[in-house]
């Protein structure tokens, strides 16, 4: 845990590998039944949807920007040094004035450093929005990527920067196992992996477990839409020493409540109980680590 953070201000990330397994469902219902004030970070910045369920009355937004070069045509002599340095084709100069492609720029600032004539200055370019709101005991931080922007990790880091150091946090990760997920998982204390009992779910769970190992993160599994055929999944979890923290049945009622934009844990008491138990288990795992893969 990061040094500045208070004891018990744990950060629990919810990820999956495969998309559509129920990360958001688990993150939201866990937050609702956490038993104490909690922060929920919606790090799925390409399609944030936690607030569809929380409906915070007021979200306070502010911009996330990245520095992008601008060319002074009077000073640029077309030497091409900027384009030679840039690995992302964010700036190109072929004997004429340098051309900037902000959507390809990664904001490293290298071009402005190598420019011999001082023709490049850096200016903030909007890449997303962060909004903070409150719904009951849940403090929501939502990141939203600007349309047309493909640089996800800086927006996720901006979401994490808004997390308070004295309140526990649940981070709702994007699907997959690439950079945006890694950006979400950094500085987390525990990883909840949500899977469904399909061959695809198991395949991608293995990738996510490999990622957790790489990052040295202890993790446990939530099985969603658990049906009859769980043998393969269970034997994999056993072999990897992964605790199964919760098994949610394939219940039509869950789908109905969720499609109305309501929380299962609040609408159906038996599921409220299950998510309370999940919160208790996670707090136990965090204070008595034993589930390290």
């Amino acid at each position: 845990m990061a040094a500045a953070r208070k004891q018990n201000a744990y950060r629990i990330a919810v990820a999956s590998g495969k998309g559509g397994t129920g990360k958001t469902t688990v993150a939201l219902n866990l937050a609702a039944m956490f038993g104490e004030p909690v922060q929920l970070a919606d790090c799925d910045v390409e399609e944030p949807n936690d607030n569809l369920f929380l409906r915070c009355e007021q979200l306070t937004p502010h911009e996330v920007t990245m520095l992008v070069p601008e060319v002074d045509p009077q000073r640029c002599n077309g030497c091409g040094a900027c384009g030679e340095l840039c690995q992302f084709r964010g700036i190109v100069s072929l004997g004429s004035r340098a051309l900037v492609f902000p959507e390809l720029c990664h904001g490293c600032g290298g071009c402005a450093l190598v420019c011999p004539t001082g023709a490049l200055t850096e200016h903030p370019h909007r890449i997303g929005t962060i909004s903070v709101g409150q719904s009951g005991t849940i403090r929501l931080i939502e990141g939203r990527l600007e349309v047309g922007v493909s640089l996800v990790p800086p927006v996720i880091r901006a979401v994490r920067d808004q997390l308070l150091d004295d309140v526990p946090a649940i981070l709702d990760a994007p699907p997959g196992t690439s950079c945006p997920v890694v950006a979400t998982l950094r500085e987390s204390d525990y990883l909840v992996l949500v899977t469904d009992p399909t061959p695809f779910g198991l395949h991608d769970l293995k990738l996510a477990v490999a990622l957790a190992k790489e990052l040295g993160l202890p993790c446990g599994v939530v099985v969603n839409r658990a049906g009859e055929d769980l043998v393969g999944l269970h034997s994999y979890c056993q072999a990897e020493n992964l605790p199964i923290l919760l098994s949610l049945p394939d219940d039509r009622q869950i789908a109905e409540v969720t499609s109305r934009g309501d929380l299962v844990a609040l609408a159906l008491p038996e599921y409220g109980q299950m998510f309370s138990e999940l919160a208790t288990k996670l707090k136990h795992e965090l204070t008595h680590p034993g589930g390290t893969p």
Partner: protein, 120 residues
């Protein structure tokens, strides 16, 4: 018009014209004065994670080309080519020599803008 670049997957004038620019396999450069053919690989453009069109534009500009004949050209590539003074001609001919013929008889109008969105 002096040196013309064609996008192609082949090696000679009879080869197919590649409708893609940024991710074309290679460029056939035809020199109008000497009537000679030169092949330039588009390895960097094909393998680029992003900005393939910009990379391909750089490659043809550095080859000293003043004209490009291809199927389609996206906005970023077009911007780089225009800044470097390369004229772009969109063409749906099947082969490079058919495209060359259409260009020389004046049947191809010079593109004034990109004709497709990025990543078409």
């Amino acid at each position: 018009m002096n040196k013309i670049a064609f996008t192609t997957a082949g090696q000679e004038l009879s080869a197919a014209l590649d409708p893609r620019f940024g991710r074309a396999a290679r460029f056939l450069i035809y020199d109008l004065q000497s009537k000679s053919v030169q092949i330039i690989e588009n390895q960097q453009g094909r393998n680029a994670a992003q900005g393939a069109g910009i990379q391909a534009a750089e490659t043809v500009v550095k080859a000293g080309v003043d004209t490009l004949v291809t199927g389609h050209c996206g906005p970023k590539a077009f911007k780089v080519l225009a800044a470097a003074g390369v004229q772009v001609f969109n063409c749906n001919a099947a082969t490079v020599d058919e495209a060359l013929h259409e260009l020389l008889v004046g049947r191809l109008p010079a593109a004034e803008n990109s004709d497709v969105e990025g990543h078409w």
